[in-house]
Amino acid sequence: MHSSNSIGHVVDAALPGALRSRDLPLPGLILLCLLLIGLYLGQAWQQVDSDGSGWRRIDTESLQRRIDAGDLRNRRADWFHPARPDELPAAGTRP
């Protein structure tokens, strides 16, 4: 008497090579998923690390329009100095 399991076992034994090649994509897919998750987390971590560590690009045209309209101000701020050469970031750094 054969259970469905034992029939399956017979089939497995008859076609070992075909099954192996069919199973192979699964570990590959898992590895790929892990790699993608790792890349995503790495990028997110980099984002957290760099968030707020420098300056921001803004819509200067919109800012100027709002200043011209009187909605915003062009008042000189305190607490700044012209950047010294040693303070300037290397070319190509964020943002």
Binding site: S53, G54, L72, R75, F80
Partner: protein, 326 residues
């Protein structure tokens, strides 16, 4: 192209022409840093002092409260992110309110003080300072509600015109500061010590977020630091977290967590530890640390009973309760 370095906060942003600092509102235009929201608040309200929260400073008085866009922190749980995480040019609502207009309106509305609040007044520093100076000239007091991420020199200058502050101490953990707020812990601690040294009445708020900063050992460390560096009479408010902004995956803080935090801070030596954002909880009330007499009962932002004597003393044992009561 002249880049400028902003000296206001510990980020010390180096900003090229046409760029803004990390706060979004301090902008390099033509090689000079510009305070683009000076006199241009986007929020104006009259609040009870208890909302700041300040429990030992002019209790029950209305405070004229203002804010402009921008902030130098980027907390994932920010409750005012529509204001704080935007530049002035992104705001739909901008009021024109010069310092003189703020002061005259505050007086006309019967307020005894002005609060610089909601976002972080550090980033609209010049507006805060000029309005505060004028407020003093007109008999009003100034309240600074802040995350205290500011450099020592500008802070000391500003303290000359400040009377009280509620500063966030978000966690006693630099990793938390970096992950959740993008700031760092040490400058915040330094700023708190400076405010105390400069004679600003200081209360602290710790927003307790489930699983992120509710560890009792850390809360004990925080309370011990406060006792040692700021004094045992510094009021500490444990505030209830509500899911907000980019942190909607965590539940509101359970009442028991806040109660455990309060018990831990009191056992570490703090005399005035409150629970906030939890309507009707007895942790909202002020009691005498000597004999336990109920001094001020609160419900939400409102005072329901006040038994303090005119001089700010316990009516039972005459213990002086620290604060600015009149």
């Amino acid at each position: 192209m002249t880049a400028v370095t902003c000296e206001l906060c510990p980020r010390t942003c180096v900003i090229p022409e046409g760029g803004a600092g990390d706060c979004r509102i301090r902008v390099n235009l033509d090689g000079e840093l510009r305070a683009t929201t000076y006199g241009r608040p986007s929020a104006l309200h009259i609040d009870p002092m208890e909302k700041k929260p300040l429990y030992h400073f002019l209790p029950g008085s209305p405070v004229f409260s203002l804010a402009t866009a921008g902030c130098n922190l980027h907390c994932r749980n920010c409750q005012n992110w529509q204001l704080s995480q935007r530049g002035g040019e992104e705001m739909e609502t901008v009021y024109r309110a010069e310092p003189s207009e703020i002061v005259s309106t505050a007086r006309a509305e019967g307020c005894r003080s002005i609060a610089y609040t909601y976002s972080d007044p550090i980033v609209y520093y010049e507006y805060t300072r000029d309005t505060s100076a004028l407020a003093h000239d007109n008999g009003l007091r100034n309240v600074f509600v802040t995350a205290a991420y500011i450099n020592p020199k500008p802070l000391r200058d500003l303290c000359r015109v400040l009377d009280a502050a509620n500063a966030d101490l978000k966690a006693m953990d630099d990793g938390f500061y970096r992950r959740v707020t993008t700031a760092s812990l040490k400058p915040v601690l330094d700023a708190m010590v400076i405010m105390r040294e400069e004679g600003v009445w200081l209360e602290l708020t710790n927003l307790v977020i489930p699983t992120l900063n509710d560890d009792l050992a850390m809360i004990r460390r925080m309370a011990r630091w406060i006792v040692a560096e700021l004094g045992a009479d510094t009021p500490l408010h444990f505030s209830r977290f509500q899911p907000m902004f980019r942190m909607r995956n965590l539940p509101p803080t359970p009442a028991e967590t806040l109660e455990r935090a309060r018990a831990e801070a009191r056992s570490a030596g703090l005399n005035y530890v409150y629970i906030g954002n939890l309507m009707g909880h007895s942790g909202n009330n002020t009691t005498c640390p000597r004999d336990g007499t109920l001094l001020i009962a609160r419900s939400g932002f409102w005072i329901t009973e006040n038994y303090l004597t005119d001089g700010g003393r316990c009516p039972t044992c005459n213990q002086q309760i620290p604060g600015v009561w009149q």
